[in-house]
């Protein structure tokens, strides 16, 4: 049976590591330092002059003013998508809450006035401090109702409560005004209608 060579240490305890040996260079040129110093100066002065006029080699991004381009596939802050008529796409199926590995999504379903939709999320909270931005909720969603394509890569707020993104905060881009008054306003949703006037659902069964 061939001996497995997993361990790099031989039985004698002598390490068999690969070491790159650099030969020590001696001589007058090395001893007087000046050629080496001039070589170094040539490099640093080149960079200095190039950057003195026009900062051509500088790779720094002046962050709050300039932002790094993020790819559309970057998993940023969540967003709840809407239908064309302005309703939330979410049908409160709990798929995302179930799949979420960090248990940061909290959904409470309510009965949708439109009977063809059945449910909608009365409460849809995401605790962004617990979120690990794995994107599994996006994968799990059958309605394409939750996406992570906002491009918000950095969330820096001053209180913990601010990171509890409620349904209405997730609906659009972040608006500080909504944070100061975080209450559910169901303006997106159609006004509750009498059951007799309710729209027929997709199977054409009138609501009764």
């Amino acid at each position: 049976m061939p001996k497995l060579n997993i361990c790099k240490y031989s039985s004698g305890g002598i390490m068999e590591l690969k070491v790159k040996r650099v030969e020590r260079v001696d001589g007058v040129k090395e001893a007087i330092f000046l050629p080496a110093i001039f070589n170094g100066l040539r490099l640093t002065v080149k960079h200095f002059w190039r950057n003195l006029f026009g900062a051509r080699d500088v790779v720094t991004i002046n962050y709050p003013e300039e932002k790094r381009h993020v790819s559309p596939r970057w998993r940023g802050r969540h967003r709840l998508t809407r239908l064309q008529n302005g309703f939330l796409s979410c049908v409160a199926c709990y798929m995302c809450e179930t799949v979420c590995p960090s248990k940061c999504i909290h959904i409470e379903a309510g009965e949708h006035p439109d009977l063809s939709v059945e449910k909608y999320p009365v409460v849809f909270d995401i605790d962004e401090l617990r979120c690990v931005f794995c994107g599994l909720c996006v994968e799990a969603c059958p309605k394409d109702a939750i996406r992570m394509d906002t491009g918000v890569v950095s969330m820096a707020y001053t209180s913990r409560q601010t990171f509890d993104f409620t349904r209405d905060l997730l609906r659009d881009s972040y608006d500080p005004k909504l944070h100061s008054n975080p209450k559910y306003e169901d303006e997106d949703l159609p006004k509750p209608v009498k059951q007799s006037e309710a729209l027929p659902n997709s199977q054409g069964i009138p609501a009764t």
Binding site: A31, I37, L41, N62
Partner: protein, 357 residues
């Protein structure tokens, strides 16, 4: 008006005025500016942006306000004294370095004399020997700070500083012997005027760098070691002994150490200009006959300032290019290489002078 002029021209008051002008309008502002420029220039060398955030409203001045911000910060910062420190020595130590750094400017002329009026605080006879005396005082700041702050790192830094200063002081003097021999004087004005001569008709000015190229390298190395900057920054030794002798300081006293470092940087640059690059003399200006005195003086001040700033830049460039010497390498370089070289330089210079004379 005449009465006022008479008061001003009194030697004592005139000297005070010159000190105020040279130090407050030349050395200190340049030193303060260099604290920022070191950061900006090192950023450029390393392809970074450097400090640019301090602002008043929208105005940042591309980082210029950091000087004011740093100053304000260190004024209002608590001035701590560590437990067990020798209070008095601890408190006065920063100013030894600062005084020594500023005193270099006492004998440096920034423009040629107009009649009896010289642009130099004093032209003492010992001249450069005064410089050696003053730069030796520089070490007291480091040693006192090191011993008095009751910290092992600071003590190590102070010890290293004193050892390094003493070693490099030796051949700093020897390296300048060549200059004394060539120009035949230790007076600064004599050396500067000696550099206004020309070789080959009016082709090459007899600047110190052409008459004493080896002496230039040796003296410059010694001065860089005296200012305790990289590559000879073992006394500060960030990677081993945190900050060396000024480790325990905070607030304005720490700033005094920093300011001393940068003022002595300017001092070194001014000294190199004076001794090796013709001082205030603008080369080939004597070809323009009947040049108005005021134009000549302004050109001289500009030339002196230009070379000083270039040398400040060069020292900073050197700091961000050359890696630090280990302490034994610093000592070895000083005693085993530079000291014999400076002795050789003296002998060769003497032989050349003898053959030519």
């Amino acid at each position: 008006m005449d009465f006022l002029l008479e008061i001003i021209m009194t030697p004592a008051i005139l000297a005070c005025l010159k000190i105020a002008v040279i130090i407050l309008l030349f050395a200190m502002p340049l030193g303060t500016l260099l604290t920022l420029m070191e950061r900006k220039w090192s950023a450029m060398i390393q392809d970074r942006v450097g400090p640019n955030r301090a602002n008043i409203g929208k105005f940042t001045g591309n980082g210029l306000l950091h000087i004011a911000a740093d100053g304000l910060k260190s004024i209002f910062k608590e001035d701590t004294i560590p437990k067990g420190a020798n209070g008095f020595l601890y408190l006065i130590a920063p100013f030894f370095g600062l005084i020594a750094a500023v005193a270099i400017f006492a004998i440096i002329p920034i423009a040629g004399p107009i009649g009896n009026f010289t642009f130099q605080v004093t032209d003492v006879n010992p001249g450069l020997l005064f410089i050696f005396a003053i730069t030796s005082l520089n070490v007291y700041g480091a040693v006192l700070a090191g011993t008095s702050s009751n910290s092992k790192f600071a003590l190590l830094g102070g010890t290293r500083a004193s050892a390094q200063m003493i070693s490099y002081e030796v051949f700093m003097g020897l390296a300048l012997m060549g200059i004394f021999m060539v120009y035949g004087t230790t007076r600064v004005s004599g050396i500067v005027n000696g550099q206004n001569e020309y070789w080959f008709g009016n082709l090459v000015p007899m600047w110190g760098i052409f008459t004493q190229p080896l002496g230039f390298i040796l003296f410059f190395t010694a001065l860089v070691a005296e200012t305790k900057r990289a590559p000879f920054d073992a006394p500060e030794g960030e990677s081993e002994i945190v900050a060396g002798y000024f480790l325990e300081y905070s607030g304005m006293r720490w700033s005094a150490f920093m300011l001393a470092e940068y003022v002595s940087l300017v001092g070194v640059a001014a000294l190199m200009t004076t001794l090796f690059f013709g001082g205030y003399h603008v080369p080939w200006l004597h070809l323009w006959e009947n040049a108005p005195q005021w134009i000549v003086t302004i050109l001289q001040i500009l030339k002196f300032t230009f070379f000083t700033v270039v040398f400040c830049w060069f020292q900073i460039q050197l700091r961000w290019t050359v890696p630090k010497f280990r302490f034994d390498q610093t000592m070895g370089l000083g005693w085993k290489k530079l000291l014999p070289l400076s002795l050789v330089n003296i002998i060769v210079t003497a032989l050349v002078i003898l053959t030519l004379a």
